[in-house]
Symmetry: C2
Subunit: 514 residues, 2 copies
């Protein structure tokens, strides 16, 4: 067997089931190895930003890594932005980067580059294969590392000669994976902080926002009266009826500061102290009041669910938390679509157990707010601010959860970044409804322009934020990649289109003119 | 004035005329400064790979840098692959990366990342602004550096607070730019190598392939009988009637080895010793015969044109070289289009002084070979092997040379990488004819799969190289971005479409079904 087969087969035996790929010549032996390994689903993406964004979505939903297969340094580099987002989401990912054969590197052929330089900032673990024989063990070390610390990114570099060389089958060993347990003292300190406060909150992030974390947080709220506030851009939150509801921290610093203004204590669970997304002239970066105490129960790397359970128990919290019960049904308005009407349609139509991948930007917030009392679902957001994540994320979620409906709530400016994702949705027949919000603008930047102090923008400035001239026709783009698509301009048409799209399996796109 | 205005105005005064941009919140002050500076053309691109590829095309044709405007680390990262290509092309580029305000960095807000890590591998010069007052000088230092060494990439990081702070106008100074001159001894050694050889070649790359470099190379060939061989993937070559012709080194190692087999001396001018693009089992990386001497006249950083002129003079070469004279006119075949018929149509139709941006991959070679005797033109290739360069390159060439016709010869798989480029072509009304070669495949990889030793690929392997299922409809994609487009399947239709597209100004796309 080849080194490539040894690696791929060993990873398959140890639970790897998906590989998002855009391979080139230096990965051909790895492609041949995937060819012989039916337990790994190999998914071609037409750009590496789609590959890594899909791996992020897969990791968030499967809690184990997908492989990525990337072509040398430039192929890796194309995937960095969505790895940045994945790193912020703490998604487990195992990147496999093909490189030149070891003897060839010295010649500085055109595709030679500093892979370590590109990869290190977005790889908690970075390993270079030492030999064909040890390549599979390197893969297992990277796999284990990706599962530690509540999820992280591992990258291994595979020289072409290690992939093509013949190796004898050997025993390889998956290192034990441990996640750090919170000390009793820490739990006691958090309990004391909540008991002593008049107005307190649990500030929740990471895995605290999974259903089991929220259950414990809800018990703590029932016992102490603390508010439950979620981080603004979380990896995955369980929502809808039957789930413990939270407030979401506002995006704009002024609103967030106001939201937190009356608190005298924050307990941080799976998240850092809240800070503004950007800095602005003469505005603070820190969002909580200076007078409030901040106590860390668990950071994002630790076992925050266990810590919340122990905290609830110490507080003699009731066994069951209060949850959202009444499913909301919103009467729809008529005529043109706005963020609120969009939200109502999605809330009414959301299928049980759906997964919403939200890169809806300025127009997505209505849908988020109005789905609080919708059917139970998971909501995934843009964790790292690097746009172009939403469509790939939906691919990964769909591959991880083939029995669940995926809704990709996507803004036009962000959608263009990784528009190639539509093609993979069609090829793999993924059950994704893309709701493309076409407002012809990087709308958030028109707001930001004034917020950073630019009072009277001129035509050049405005043109750099504008997506008309030419208008982007998403229906044509979808058709160009073989996807069913419809353009809607009224609430009625939107409602019918969402109903139709969700009534059958497979991908389709609804272009919403706002 | 703000720090941002000080920077942008100072760069404008020192000759900067173009900025390719995809800004975000942290660059809003720079956007406002561009708004007030009419001598810099600000061009919005919908993905940073388009931004940096356009800057590459601009740098190759203008011999001075365009600015790029990029949004923190992830925005920069999206542009890395085409910066890798630009680095191989020695294109001058000046990247401006916005970053968080200096006081905000400590909070590790979502978009915080290791910009230095991402940028260093593709930036010969990397500078972080030290203050609002010195920001403009930092910009001039980076500008000068980008012009040294025959062109390189400079990156400056601009914290948002340095952009928004008020500064007093000051005097800033553009450092002197020098390129290294070749010593007389080196020229004499090269002359001796050519005189002593029976079968010699000048191996030409970089600026040696500009018209003036080729003139001198042609004189040397006339004096010594040496062959003129160009590197396989050059940044820019002057070709067509009136120009000195060269042989191009073959891509596949076996063919290149054969091409060089009978040489006993190579003189390297603006290029390194020839090596294969990839390594393959049991095949050599070095392409020239072991028995041949290799003499460096000038590497790619030095003033190779001056060195060639002095070498020609030492060799008592004739004042005028032999050039291509008879313009070829090819009779067209009928029916389906192949690489040869495509090449004939392009050769016949090529306008005077056109610029061809060639990312045509497997089907582009016919056009290259058949245009040797076409109208005078410049030919630009994919220098670094990172696909997705061709369409952005055409944007940059068109902005640099608004009076010349641009032909983007583009392969489908590569074109999808930076498909967003079509939108910018339309917005800026650039005079670009995109000839999109749709063969529904990463065709080169089907060849490479067998070359690396995979004898019998199965369905998974083949599916990872295939671009059908679904078919990509480029006409729809172009229409989705407001571009005129036509699909052609016969030589007649292709010929008519190319004639029509070139008969008027502005962008259009011809989808060629192969």
């Amino acid at each position: 067997m080849t080194g490539a087969e040894s690696l791929i087969n060993t990873l398959a035996v140890n639970g790897v089931e998906a590989c998002f790929a855009n391979p080139g010549t230096s990965e051909m032996q790895l492609v041949a190895a995937l060819d012989k390994q039916p337990s790994i689903r190999a998914v071609l993406c037409l750009f590496e930003g789609v590959v890594t964004g899909a791996a992020d979505g897969y990791g968030r939903m499967a809690d184990k890594p997908a492989l990525t297969l990337l072509h040398l340094g430039p192929g890796f580099a194309n995937g960095i932005a969505n790895l940045h987002n994945a790193q912020r989401a703490r998604s487990p990912i195992l990147n496999i980067v093909g490189d030149h054969a070891t003897d060839h590197l010295q010649y500085d052929a055109p595709l030679t580059s500093d892979i370590r330089g590109f990869a290190s900032p977005v790889s908690r673990t970075y390993l270079v294969s030492a030999s064909a024989t040890t390549l599979a063990q390197t893969g297992l070390d990277a796999l284990a590392a990706s599962l530690a610390h509540s999820g992280s990114i591992s990258t291994i570099v595979v020289p072409a000669d290690h992939a093509w060389a013949a190796v004898e089958p050997q025993q390889y060993h998956l290192p034990e994976i441990t996640n750090e347990r919170i000390s009793d003292d820490t739990v006691q300190t958090a309990a004391q902080a909540l008991r002593n406060a008049n107005k307190s909150c649990l500030f929740l992030g990471g895995r605290a926002l999974r259903e089991e974390g929220l259950e414990q947080a809800g018990r703590i709220a029932a016992a102490t009266g603390c508010r439950l506030i979620s981080e603004t851009f979380f990896a995955r939150q369980a929502r809808g009826i039957g789930r413990v509801p939270t407030e979401r921290l506002a995006y704009f610093g002024e609103a967030a500061t106001e939201q937190l203004a009356d608190l005298d204590a924050l307990v941080l669970a799976g998240v850092k102290s809240p800070v503004s997304f950007f800095a602005y002239p003469d505005k603070p970066s820190v969002l909580a009041p200076e007078t409030a105490t901040q106590t860390v129960l668990a950071d994002a790397e630790m076992d925050v669910v266990d810590a919340l359970r122990r905290l609830a128990d110490i507080l003699d919290a009731p066994a069951r938390p209060g949850v959202t019960t009444d499913r909301a049904r919103y009467p729809l308005g008529e005529g043109a679509i706005d963020a609120n009407e969009l939200g109502k349609v999605i809330a009414n139509r959301l299928p049980d157990n759906a997964i919403v991948c939200d890169e809806g930007a300025t127009n997505g917030l209505g849908a988020f707010l109005l789905t609080a009392n919708a059917a139970p679902h998971d909501w995934l957001t843009l964790t790292g601010g690097a746009i172009g994540q939403g469509l790939p994320l939906a691919i990964g979620a769909a591959v991880a959860c083939p029995d669940r409906k995926i809704i990709a709530l996507e803004a036009d400016g962000s959608g263009m970044y990784t528009v190639q994702a539509l093609w993979t949705m069609v090829r793999e027949a993924l059950d994704i409804t893309v709701i493309m919000l076409n407002n012809g603008s990087y709308a958030i930047l028109n707001i930001e322009l004034s917020r950073v102090g630019v009072a009277e923008p001129g035509p050049t400035a405005l043109s750099l934020l504008d997506l008309t001239n030419p208008e982007i026709n998403w229906t044509d783009l979808a058709h160009g990649m073989g996807m069913n698509a419809i353009k809607v301009k009224t609430v009625d048409a939107l409602d019918a289109a969402v109903g139709e799209a969700l009534s059958h399996e497979g991908p389709s796109l609804i272009e919403v003119i706002l």
